[in-house]
Symmetry: C2
Subunit: 341 residues, 2 copies
DNA sequence: GATAGGCTCTGCATCGTTGAAATGCCGGAA
DNA sequence: TTCCGGCATTTCAACGATGCAGAGCCTATC
């Protein structure tokens, strides 16, 4: 049985198509008599509005795209969850797309015009997108970026204060009496701005404490996976001056990878080496030892991004593209402070 | 600037709308002369087909919905990734929705007709959906279920052989000489069919080895999160006969939670208690100790589900709803076999 | 030289819905 | 009794694309 159309309901109820539409949408006043007839017909035929037709008419799809590098990286999965939930509150549906870190796919996804790609707007967590790429975007649909502002981009972006977050993490290690604090995850090149800010925070914490930064303890990694953390830590363990006594990792996966290498080398966490992560993924809570980490306020990030996107969509906001800040906090767990046995 | 329409391109190129459409879609032969003019116009105006209009005309949206309980549970995140990737191969886009384990939301999402919900089809990983719910579905769009067949459901479903997978895991523990093997995650009620099959496999392995199952070592859990595993393990550690010497957990989160409780109690993994998980999530590889686990072939699951859904969509398949089986394998790691130091 | 046949190319109708404007109907005021 | 205002309801024309049928035109054939 083909799906019932407005037309079929109208025939059955003996009214015009428009009246059925009015009943369904509650737009215009309708007499009780006709309303009842229409509602009965709707129920009998199991009528459901055809969303695609409605979309065409409205020029809106009710879909927003969330583009992340990898959906199965816990941080992005948790963020995706928050975005999906928040968007639903506003009646929007989220299409999750992943770029697998391929610049081409990132480009492709943001370049497409909204009407072409059927999304009303895009929330993008860029990995390898350059300022030039963004400037070339000619799409008319709104775009909100997650993460650092890409220079003088003309788009809104939602982020946390990475400098102070990293400083917070590093200061925590300093306060614990650690003296040789390593950092894993620096990315000293164009698309690694977030990492660079964390390195800056790491340095600031040292300056504040009157310490010098030992550059040889800052290990860059191209990606932020377990294996990168494990490998970087191997390097640190083999440091000419001996292993550091603390490591600040730029995300939790790096940190868990780092802990793995440390334990494998027969050292203890946190007694020999304290480890701090970043992102506060769920797995860190139940890891042994549980992970001290910087927790960005993911629900806030999702909410800021969705709300700003929808504001742009409805044209409510004429403000210039802005930086929107979400909060963060340090969550201290066993990887820096051993629990009382 | 409003987005260019077929109409605008036609005007500019001095041809009919239909010809532009033909050029864009490559449907009909077009002379080189006109093709060039059209292509030039397309480029100048930055024309992009309006997907919503196309969808309306075709009666297809190119969207499939993937409905999972929780997007940030690693298994579902990894599965979602595979589904998104596979669907893209076929030109489909995936909308990820999560039910948060609420039966009402599950119902709502599958009940809606495809044309209403704008999805061409739905892939559902049900948590709390009963046979009755499914029978009441009146939607016309195809639905593929992930997980156990719900009785004589009229839908395709993709699963793995949970009985033999669980038997494999348990046999592994038996082969290691473990004698008191616990199980965490049984769900002895209607919607817990997958868990029940795993329990069955666990029992079979015992039977094969001529062992008796100690029912007091089978701990049910309502959910499959870290905390459930940790709590269930507390119970086991306090068992009147003393702790078991092995635990088979029905997913990796339970297993990691279990390991946490074991280590917190001052016992060792695997020396004192060996632990096996299920799902082979990425975090298990880098956990310390790394996690022995049953690895379902997620790419195969995704592929089977997507391909079957699309086959139903195109009407290629008249076959009765079937069970489609994906493979699995046991991955042995440190949580059952200590690595050579 | 007329006709058939093959190519391009165009116009019209349509997908299912909603915006805008027109219609019909009623009661109340003049 | 007539006219007007207000309300319920309907008609018409889109939204932007594609399926179909047929109109031109050009070449090949008898």
């Amino acid at each position: 049985m083909a799906a019932a159309r407005l037309r079929d309901v109208a025939d059955r109820a003996g009214v015009s198509i428009r009246t059925v539409s009015n009943v369904v949408n509650g737009y215009a006043p309708v007499s009780d008599q006709k309303r009842e007839r229409v509602e009965a017909a709707v129920a009998e035929l199991g009528y459901r509005p055809n969303v695609m037709a409605r979309n065409l008419k409205h020029g809106r799809s009710g879909l927003i795209a969330l583009v992340v590098p990898e959906l199965d990286v816990p941080y992005f999965a948790e963020l995706a969850r928050a975005v999906v939930t928040t968007a639903r509150e506003f009646g929007y549906t989220v299409v999750v797309d992943q770029t697998d870190g391929e610049p081409d796919r990132e480009r492709e996804l943001i370049m497409r015009d909204g009407s072409a790609a059927m999304f009303d707007g895009v929330i993008l967590s860029p990995l390898a997108l350059s300022q030039t790429d963004l400037a070339q975007r000619d799409a008319t649909s709104p775009l909100v970026l997650l993460g650092e502002r890409i220079a003088d981009s003309e788009y809104d972006h939602v982020t946390i204060d990475n400098i102070s977050a990293a400083r917070l993490a590093t200061s925590h290690l300093i306060a614990l009496g650690r003296t040789r604090i390593a950092a894993i995850g620096d990315q000293p090149y164009e698309t690694g701005e977030t990492a660079q800010l964390r390195t800056r925070g790491y340095e600031l914490a040292h300056e504040e404490a009157g310490r010098l930064v030992d550059r040889s303890l800052v290990i860059p990694t191209h990606r932020f996976h377990f294996s990168d953390g494990a490998e970087a830590t191997e390097l640190l363990l083999a440091h000419p001056d001996g292993p550091p006594d603390a490591i600040f990792c730029y995300n939790d996966l790096l940190a868990i990878g780092a802990i793995r290498s440390i334990l494998a080398a027969g050292l203890r966490v946190p007694e020999d080496i304290a480890v701090v992560g970043f992102d506060n993924i769920e797995a860190g809570r139940y890891h042994t030892p549980s992970l001290t980490t910087v927790s960005p306020d993911k629900p806030a990030i999702a909410r800021l991004a969705v709300e700003r996107l929808l504001a742009r969509l409805s044209g409510d906001t004429d403000e210039a593209p802005a930086e929107l800040w979400a909060g963060h906090e340090l969550i201290v767990r066993e990887s820096t402070v051993a629990r009382q046995a």
